[in-house]
Amino acid sequence: MKTSVILPAAAAAALLALGAGCTRPAQYVDPQGSRVMVTLDQINIQDFAMAAEDAVNSLLASGVIDRVPEKPAILVVSRVVNSTSQQVDTDMLTKKIRVALNQSGKALTQTTRGPGGVVEDELAREIQLEREALDGLRTRVPDFSLSGKIIETMSRAGSYRQAAYTFQLSLTDNRGLAVWEGEKAVVKQGRRPSVGF
């Protein structure tokens, strides 16, 4: 007899607790921590961060950046092709790598040169040309160009889904040789998004 009273009460209390726990007000989270949102059909910020971390670790460990006649190396960012079904800004990947290389003191990025003549900083380009005209000096030819591709592969088994995002990067020297190449796959599985990973 007692069980029939306790059971619904316990169930109600559990539901209440669950409801209270899941209704979360908006809050700030550490973007580099592990409590950010994980979705299957999107490249999340931590996916870019993990890919960039892997690339920078591999790049610095290889030592290729230091094999230049004049240090620090000069880097230009070429095209990173987005072969996914999403609209993503590839700077989410390349900027992290650029900042990390800049902070390492191993490489400086030239922002006045870009793929197809599209430069990142138009004003800096004008100033550079003006300085070159005044001083009669040519700016150093970049040592390396960073290019890459982001590929998406989706799989499904029933209601269970898998999203694989492959980040491919190449560092090409000014002889046209890929002196470093890196690939990082970020694979996520599940049915629904989650908070935290």
Binding site: M50, L60, A100, S104, F197
Partner: protein, 154 residues
């Protein structure tokens, strides 16, 4: 006192669901490696602060080594072992500090998700972001996946 038929039904249903969808039988990894390794490892003494005994049991640090990249940057590697028969999800993060103890933050400093199978030995490492870096701290955290919001698809 016998449990009510409703309670028995709920329990049986839950057990069935667990067995069908969510249950994974424990599996443990076997490994083979050379008896005499040729690598010259430079193990370093570590200081551990354990606040999660469960994580410390499932993801046990085996050794911590350090070395240098060809450019002279500090590089480290932590090897962990899972002595249980269950896979375990956790996150790890490496933080770097300069000679004065100040943290050296970079945009690539991030928590990285990892899964260690039962019996598996796993190594992960990082390269110092700058030649001025002297110290580091590796944080290990149990998977933080806490709840599953229903997001509207665009």
């Amino acid at each position: 006192m016998k449990p009510s038929p409703l309670l028995r039904g709920v329990l049986a249903g839950a057990a069935l669901l667990a067995a069908a969808g969510c249950g994974t039988s424990p599996k443990s990894m076997n490994t083979v490696e050379p008896a005499q390794t040729t690598a010259v490892r430079q193990p370093i003494a570590d200081r551990r602060v354990v606040t999660d005994p469960s994580l410390a049991r499932n993801v046990q640090p085996v050794d911590l080594i350090e070395g240098r990249t060809p450019d002279g940057l500090l590089r480290i590697q932590l090897t962990v072992h899972n002595p249980t028969r269950s896979r375990h999800a956790f996150n790890h993060r490496v933080e770097w500090f300069d000679a004065q103890g100040f943290q050296f933050g970079t945009p690539t400093d991030t928590a990285v998700s990892a899964v260690i199978e039962g019996g598996q030995t796993l190594s992960f490492g990082s390269v110092a972001p700058n030649p001025q870096v002297r110290d580091f701290r590796i944080s290990l955290l149990e998977s933080t996946r806490s709840f599953f919001p229903r997001l509207r698809r665009n």
